[in-house]
Amino acid sequence: MALLQIAEPGESAAPHEHKLAVGIDLGTTNSLVATVRSGLTVVLNDELGRPLLPSVVRYGKAGEVEVGYEAQRQQSVDARNTIVSVKRFMGRGKADIANLEAIPYDFVEAPGMVRLRTDAGEKSPVEVSAEILKALRARAEASLGGDLVGAVITVPAYFDDAQRQATKDAAKLAGLNVLRLLNEPTAAAIAYGLDNGSEGVYAVYDLGGGTFDISILHLSKGIFEVLATGGDSALGGDDFDHRIYCWILQESKLSPLSSGDARLLLTRAREAKEYLTFHGEAPISARLSTGEMVDLTLTTQIFNDITQTLTMKTLQAVKKALRDAGMTSSDIKGVVMVGGATRMPQIQRAVGEFFKREPLNNLDPDKVVAIGAAMQANLLAGNRAAGDDWLLLDVIPLSLGLETMGGLVEKVIPRNSTIPAARAQEFTTFKDGQTAMAVHVVQGERELVSDCRSLARFELRGIPPMVAGAARIRVTFQVDADGLLSVAAREQTTGVEASITVKPSYGLSDDEVASMLKDSMEHAKDDAFRRALKEAQVEAERLIEAVRAALVSDGELLSPEEKARVEAAITKLHSTALGENRRHITLAMDDLEAETKDFAARRMDKSIRRAFAGKTVDEIEQTTKENQA
């Protein structure tokens, strides 16, 4: 057990204190957690020295939960209660899920996202993912000896808004402070680029258990700029297993399988796939619960044939991303391979032939994403060391738009826009005297609303009656650095403040998250009140630290009086945070935020001036005049 450092009241601990932050690769098949320790990025192993945590969660009758290898061992015995590859269901309705018949779960259709009926009750994929994250959080805290200030969690670049929001909700449920959602291929590029000091245009080909991403990045002087991304959020190693599974059924002419037998054959299929990485053929044998025997040999040739369409599908996405980036395969300086499924020889060969160069495999494809995420977490938590200066500029994978007349989509923010991004569009009324307007937000590339994913619907009410076409309704989209969207609408002409900000409909409401938190607390026999108080205290400390750091670096931007007021607000928050009244802590935080609002603006101004250092505004104006002359 590590010793806790206690600072004098009113004083923070050492300013260079290393903050505990982790990167988490929440994978379809396996998950990992990594951190930067004494300048080295390490994957944190479990107590048995194993780096991977199988992304498997098993629910027992008495509400007990097993995660990882333990749960994995039970998957063919207790298939219905043992959830594997839950990532495929994140932010997805029942109709979205491919190969549903081969998945041995009891799905319940629910608005926005499916749920799974288990012996411990109905579970949302968000809750299942939260169990995996909790296990990783516990591993990290035990290994690092303290509370985490935050985590960077990776998501497939091609995840849409629903899937990203679901991931963030899962982290919240697991009690993690999400510093950033980071795209998996971008994380891999960081790990690779920083390790090799690369410059130029790189492609990251990331074939995971259930998702495929391709990203084209420009690396230059510590800036990682994503030029384009593409992929398929429902294509991965699992699909290669499924092709083998179908081949087994076809070859053995089996009657309909029980869920346990289906799971058993899927496991055999996966084992055969892995075996073929190093061998020319793989034996497949199994005894089913019906007494039937399966005894087959899968050759490399057959495997390549039955999966060729999957391999081609990935290459089509690669072509599209290259085109979006305005590049051809000859512009690419290197291709980084990520994800366990890229171990398949036919994938290595196909990618090598496409780019006419050997793919880069020098980092472990299972670990590279977690390592990149840990590096980013370390930077975001404020542990920036000298020379450790780099920045990510990422994009949104899918266009965002609005439904217009006739079920057509008007794109507001096109795919591959660098985030954060905002865009406003004006609309008007269709009928005389119209006082409300329905706004329907969609994501996707197709022209018809019905072919895109519906993200949110809301109504703008209280528009004063006017003739058709006279109202000016401005709809603003804002995508933040996590790739998450918020939408606001406002009627412009009358000054009527009819404005609304929505959280897309599939996301969990704050109440739902709170009630799930409460449920999980009851199981853990914890106290929800204590937990909430603790969180508020941690938040307060975080804020105090941020303001103190700002005072140290930019204190001269404040007059002595202003500085005194900020100091007073800090002292007040500090003493309130020692107490047990959560509401008072929140109020004191609001006070400190209000007291530092101008300070924040001045600091930002200073930052921007810094970017102009070496070139004065006069000089710029001078060149402008010369150019116009």
């Binding site: 072509k319 975001l380 990510l392 400190l592 710029i620």
Partner: protein
């Protein structure tokens, strides 16, 4: 720096159509290195909000100036010359005729599965657009003539759309 400064001022560039794109790239990266939300992940809410607003603005400025068509539209906007794309779509008959010929050519190549012809059309159109953009440089920077520039911008909007359609046709063929 004023939050309402125009994109050229923000990017430290003279207000012109012909710009130093290397300088634009450099300034963009320098600005993002200062204002990006990743720099404020551990800051208070007020700073996070400001950083989001500034980073969004810097991205918008960069996207607007980086490509010639949005840059030209923006210059017209700054000069209070509306492109008038919504209410002034009446283009000269010969231009529209030419457009129809282009479109027929693309449709033919597409249905014949003639990949090579599509690439050829793409190349030809690209050349035509390059000389149109050269002309725009003169209309904005040498002897400013915003009315003519607005007309050329409207034409280029058609051509950009056409180029996009050829791209789509090529992708569609590749996916078949």
């Amino acid at each position: 720096m004023d939050f309402n400064a125009d994109h050229f001022t923000l990017m430290g560039l003279p207000r012109a159509f012909r710009i130093d794109t290397a300088a634009l790239d450099k300034r963009y990266r320098e600005l993002q290195a200062e204002v990006h939300p990743d720099r404020f992940a551990h800051a208070g809410d007020a700073e996070k909000r400001l950083s989001l607003q500034w980073a969004t603005k810097v991205n918008e400025a960069y996207q607007t100036l980086k490509k010639p068509l949005p840059r030209a539209k923006y210059l017209l906007h700054l000069a209070d010359h509306d492109v008038g794309a919504e209410n002034n779509t009446a283009m000269p008959a010969d231009f529209l005729m030419e457009q129809m010929e282009w479109r027929e050519g693309v449709a033919e190549a597409r249905s014949a599965g003639n990949h090579h012809e599509l690439e050829h059309l793409h190349h030809r159109l690209g050349e035509q657009m390059r000389s149109a953009y050269d002309e725009l440089g003169d209309l904005f920077d040498n002897a400013p003539d915003y009315a003519t520039a607005a007309d050329r911008v409207r034409r280029l909007m058609f051509l950009e759309k056409l180029l996009h359609e050829i791209d789509d046709a090529i992708v569609a063929l590749e996916e078949e």
